[in-house]
Symmetry: C2
Subunit: 492 residues, 2 copies
């Protein structure tokens, strides 16, 4: 292969980084912790955005846009919130540069100091709730169902492409409601939209659950999440939906007159997914040959590679491939014909494998004579000879099958790496093997902290869906009573 990728077994972390860079998804920039998302990576992100945006609009949400900057004083208004974000803020202090009198370039103009420092948004609850105060007077103004697609900055010390970067792209929904019940329903609705998207588009099996108090969003009453398992057995939080209670309404004095004419504080939710999903997508499905993209999110779903001798044959093959491309168009299938004449077909095969294109169609002179094409599927790496006639429908069905198979494979992996653990000895042994440990927990932050300290494992969530049956038991660490098993794992 032209660009070699370190194997998963050899060094999982290097394998991941290699994939991201060599498949042209993203790279580190000259700015610490900030990435460049390259066109191929961005095309996947656009597909993610487009589908999620459709689902948000179908559930009644509208997009809006709020300022990049947050006055420092706003951040302080909700105590838990500032505690959670103060340590990783990019702070704007000046608004002008000037020429250095010594001629060495530009320097910050000390006379252009801002009266109040501005924080580059790490999340937008504060600026948005400060805005909502002017939008909400009565119950008739509710609910407000806004989403924004934006960039945010959290000054992380250790960064990894897509998984943890100083700047990342995301969407953040911020809704306002007249009752706690309605806000709770919204929180649940949106975590389920995320789960639906992860399962059906990313081919990613996820557990829907609730975070423990210590893992909650800073300022939330409850945080719901979707958790996925990566191929090294580690957990990855792929999306969160927060019930914020009246915390931000109180911090920013957002009150409304209810139907009875009485003033009450507004109830809030917020929910988000980010370019971190790209990391989950890559880690969950890829192999040592490169990316394995689920057809639903692949920018190129079918690549066609002609086998030929001489210009004449190339031209003929490309013509035949254009015909197939046209037959695929009505199905909305995106096709790339790789007609480059300066690289060998073996190089092309490896490159498109690396880039995770779900289906490869190869056609040579003999195939043409026999009325067949060669089809290779990326998920299983199987090749087969298929009749040219009816090829469009065949490929359509194959893409559906690949989508399902990638999901099934990931689900199977998760099930194989999920175990019920009932003793502390077993816990310490099993956690080293990776995977999800289903354990009883006594419900205290103290026990949770001790387990984390001793094993680096955290409670990923208290499962909410039918994945785990509800059964009582005793805490794997303290032996105290427990109402249901929770998921412990090491995590990204």
């Amino acid at each position: 292969m032209a660009k070699e990728v370190t194997s998963r077994e050899e060094n999982y972390s290097l394998w991941y980084n290699n994939l991201v860079v060599k498949a042209d998804l993203a790279e580190n920039s000259a700015v610490r912790g900030c990435m460049v998302i390259k066109p191929y990576g961005y095309a996947i992100w656009e597909k993610i955005q487009h589908q999620l945006d459709t689902m948000f609009k179908e559930t009644g949400h509208q997009n809006a846009y709020f300022p990049l900057f947050i006055p420092k004083s706003f951040l302080s208004k909700e105590a838990d919130h500032v505690e959670g974000f103060a340590k990783e803020c990019a702070v704007v202090t000046h608004h002008r540069l000037k020429n250095n009198p010594d001629g060495s370039g530009v320097i910050v103009d000390p006379e252009a100091k801002l009266e109040e420092e501005l924080i580059v948004r790490p999340t937008s609850e504060t600026i948005i709730w400060n805005t909502y105060r002017n939008w909400i007077k009565s119950y008739r103004d509710l609910p407000i169902l806004c989403n924004q697609w934006a960039n945010v900055v959290r000054w992380e010390m250790r960064t990894r492409l897509f998984l943890r970067t100083a700047e990342f792209l995301w969407q953040e929904g911020h809704t306002a409601h007249a009752t706690a019940q309605e806000a709770i329903e919204e929180t649940e609705k949106m975590v389920n939209v995320y789960a639906d998207f992860a399962r059906n588009y990313m081919a990613l099996p996820v557990v829907v659950g609730k975070k423990t108090e210590s893992e909650r969003f800073a300022g939330a009453i409850d945080t719901l999440c979707i958790e996925a398992m990566m191929q090294d057995g580690k957990a990855l939080q792929a999306g969160t939906s927060h019930f914020l209670g009246q915390n931000f309404a109180k911090a920013f004095d957002v009150q409304f007159a209810n139907k009875e004419g009485k003033l009450d504080y507004v109830w809030a939710t917020s929910w988000g997914v980010s370019t971190r999903l790209m990391g989950a997508l890559i880690m969950a499905h890829s192999d040592n040959n490169g990316l394995v993209l689920p057809p639903a999110l692949a920018p190129i779903q079918v690549v066609m590679v002609p086998i030929y001798k001489g210009e004449e044959e190339l031209k003929m093959m490309v013509e035949k491939m254009e015909e197939i491309k046209n037959e695929l168009k009505p199905y909305g299938i995106s096709v790339k014909i790789d007609d480059r004449d300066n690289v060998r077909s073996g190089f092309k095969f490896a490159e498109w494998e690396l880039k995770g294109v779900p289906v490869r169609v190869v056609m040579g002179k003999r195939d043409l004579e026999n009325g067949v094409v060669e089809i290779a599927r990326r998920d299983t790496c199987e090749k087969s000879s298929v009749a040219r006639e009816g090829i469009a429908e065949y490929i359509k069905n194959l893409l559906d099958e690949i989508q399902k198979n990638i999901y099934a494979k990931a689900l199977n992996f998760r099930e194989e790496h999920t175990v019920k653990v009932d003793t502390w000895e077993e816990f310490k042994e099993k956690i080293e093997e990776g995977g999800f440990l289903l354990c009883h927990w006594d419900g205290t932050a103290e026990t949770e902290a001790k387990i984390k300290e001793e094993t680096k494992a955290t409670i990923r969530c208290i499962p909410l869906d039918s994945h785990v049956e509800i059964e009582e038991g005793t805490c794997v660490y303290s032996g105290k009573p427990s109402k249901q098993r929770v998921i412990f794992a090491r995590a990204y």
Copy 2:
């Protein structure tokens, strides 16, 4: 009308601001110069984005994403560029807040000072060309045709919603080419894409032209632009496309091996339009009743208002309206049925007029009996009774007609306010009336500066399209020879 708008004649500037705020497009935020784009305004921006993005992709461009932050030293590498942007930069100097020991909130942690300050991008040439250095080795890597949708910050002192804000949303294309010729062709291609979009979607007649040296983008060899006329006769620059020569390739040492194997610097272009287009859209077409949106960019193209007595009738009307809505669906026409029972229909009429919805359909019991509906078009404010049968096709055609009429109206206005001026006395008189003055100019920056000083008029562009015939003459100010007329105007 529920929300009164100051009239255009009374105070043009206040009229504009009123419209933006009262039609729920945008508002000022708590952060100086930064706006909140509200859902209705953002829905228009999404339509603009979607159409432009389609046109960029049709012309071979791909989207990517580059960092928000630019190291201070990068900005200094291109001399004209830093000169142009240094005075209006948001500068990040620290990466952490901490609790104030006096308990009064959070303060910037002096120990978290960045080694090198970061500038919030005012435009991305520098960070992008620093990245391109690693992407380009040979002519085979060219052209690179990237675009990004992003937010940028320019610390403007006087801001106005959409027209000039500290933070704004835009797209910036950045392309890299092997030859000057190819880069020049790209520059021209993209300014024509902008002109095409402005004319056919925004219904905005624009002049395509070239900027004079003093109005050029900081770091460009040539700046092409589209210029539109607003209803107060002022010019508005609606989009620019820059031929950057090898300036940025030299500043960031981006060289490639050409077909002959020799090293050469890469040729560059950049081009952008921003949320300023929203300002142009509003100012060009709106009237004293509110917005007038061209159907191609209206989030709601048809609003239906039932006239009824009692719940029973309301239900029946809404049912009938749902039928019409379904008939409009195949045409891709977006419809809103306003079934609110807590406001009068007069209030609804005024509200949807304010929001610029192109077509209003009204239906009462008598209309139903007579097999007609009442149609009001927003552009002319005309009402007519139209047969219910075949209404979908009627509306489809009406929307097309409205789109054309809005363009024709704006074109007519521009033509009425464009005059050839040949003497300095006439210039000083006419410039007070607003509009475009077509004048001969001697080609010197000195004359240009003097005219600006004396009249506040600038050269909007040297027209490139057939709008103005090429004829020689003598400069309106200096009397020196001139090769063609240019457009002078006061501008936003």
